[in-house]
Amino acid sequence: MEFSWLERLSLFRFALLASFTAGLVCPLVGAFLWLRRTSFYGITLPQFSAAGVVLGYVCLPWWITTIGLGGLSLDEALGDPHTIMNYLLAWAALACLAGLAALVWLGRRGRGSETGRVAAAFALATAATYVFGRLSPVGQSHVEELLHGEVLGVGSHECETIVFVLLLVLALLLLFRRELALVSFDPEFARVLQKRVLALEVLLHCLCTLTVAAGTIIVGPTMLFGLLVLPPLAARPFARSMGAFLALSSGAGLLAALLGTTLSFQADLPLGAAIVASAGLTLLPAALRRASA
């Protein structure tokens, strides 16, 4: 049965809203990761979150019998989208925060190369995801969906969650963008100005954690790190100011979401992968500009 464009837009409205919101906001977080020369965190942190989610499933039976989850049984919890979403979001956020804290701490100790650390972390987190997945007594289908990142399966509750989280991240990023840029560009000058540098660093890491945790669960790790990494790379050669860099990064992310949706509907391709492929296409103008420079 063929669906018209309008029918598809209606049928997949939650998935599209989630994708476009991710396309708008994730590149802004990725832009700050790029500025701080930690772009690769955008690839590794979603893997930590994915491992956290799967570990959450492994621990779910124990959690329900020992700590309790709103008084629900295991089957009730698995069938309640609100409860299971909030539970998994917490695991995703904790795992992401733990991974981020470890990378930052190891970076400050200055041992080994940053690229090596991030690559090792990515490998370990990916392996942990699959190992925990095999150990998980429940939620196998959910785990597989997570690993494949089936965005079209996003329902109303997931959409509400990711839109709320990402709009909160957007509001805080826009509100504190000047100070976040300052502590990223010249942290010593920020300290001399008696700005609360540590608080601002924690804020940025928390915004990154929220984005990665919600994004991993709802749009999947692949689409998430595609939107964190690729749009800022596409935007940078054309940006002559901080404002332009942030706007162009977000614009490239939205363009990728639009192109990816079109590609997915026209060619019947997975939405998440189509969006990432489209984000890759937005790199072409940047590559041409660099080649001509």
Binding site: R37, L175, A190, V192, L193, S241, M242
Partner: protein
């Protein structure tokens, strides 16, 4: 601006020692930076002048003694431009505007009068035509002037500069130094670290010589004699 009285020092060190971890780099420092003074810090590489400078900025806490700012004395800081990442997509105006971030208003935005101050200082350091250019595209001297404008936008009581003329051509050096002299005549206290002794002799009123973890204070005539310089820096250290 500070609430200190005209004679009250802006920064006061009492038997201060600075270092990293348990290692003292400089110690036994008694120093007062009063309003309107112009000081230079000199010393051979590894002598501790950068550590002392960072202590005065508040970036390194004292291991002994005390380092206090009077009232709410505002420090303007001009770092070495090489310490900054030139790949950041910032315009000259965005860099200078950072000096207003200690006074952000509603919705964390600079007030209109602060934005006017930004434009005024960009004009005064001679960068008005470059205000919308990326910071990374400026020459060394232009970047240094942008960082100076950023520090002046903080409305400082004392200006601390780290090697402000390092790697800058002669013409740009003269521009920067002329501006510093003008600011000093206007009453601003200035302290700069420099290895360019000719600059120090020409402009500063007092010198802090850092050597072997100790600090000596005096005028350039007293402390920058050929004999002392040879002792500190080796043969041929009389000029730049």
């Amino acid at each position: 601006m500070t609430t200190a009285t005209p004679c009250e020092p802006l920064i006061r060190l009492r038997s201060a020692a600075f270092g990293y971890g348990a290692r003292r780099v400089v110690s036994g420092i008694d120093l007062e930076i009063a309003p309107g003074r112009f000081l230079g810090i000199v010393g051979p590489n590894g002598s501790g002048k950068t550590t002392l400078f960072r202590g005065l900025l508040g970036l390194v806490p004292p291991l002994e003694g005390s380092c206090a700012r009077t009232g709410r004395a505002v420090i303007g800081y001009v770092p070495q431009r090489e310490s900054l990442d030139a790949s950041f997509p910032l315009t000259v105006r965005e860099v200078v505007e950072m000096g207003t971030y200690q006074r952000l208003g509603r919705l964390r935005r600079p007030a209109a009068e602060d934005l006017a101050l930004v434009d005024e200082w960009i004009e005064r350091v001679g960068l008005a035509p470059q205000r919308t250019r990326p910071f990374a595209e400026l020459s060394g001297g232009q970047r240094q002037r942008a960082l100076l404008a950023r520090a002046l936008v903080t409305r400082p009581d004392v200006l601390l500069l780290d090697e402000p003329t390092s790697g800058v051509d002669r013409g740009a050096q003269e521009q920067i130094l002329a501006l510093l002299s003008e600011l000093h005549r206007g009453g601003l206290a200035i302290l700069l670290v420099s290895h360019q002794l000719s600059l120090v002799r020409r402009f500063v009123e007092e010198v802090l010589v850092v050597a072997d973890g100790r600090v000596q204070q005096g005028t350039p005539v007293e402390l920058l004699t050929p004999e002392r310089l040879e002792l500190l820096f080796g043969a041929g250290a009389g000029g730049d």
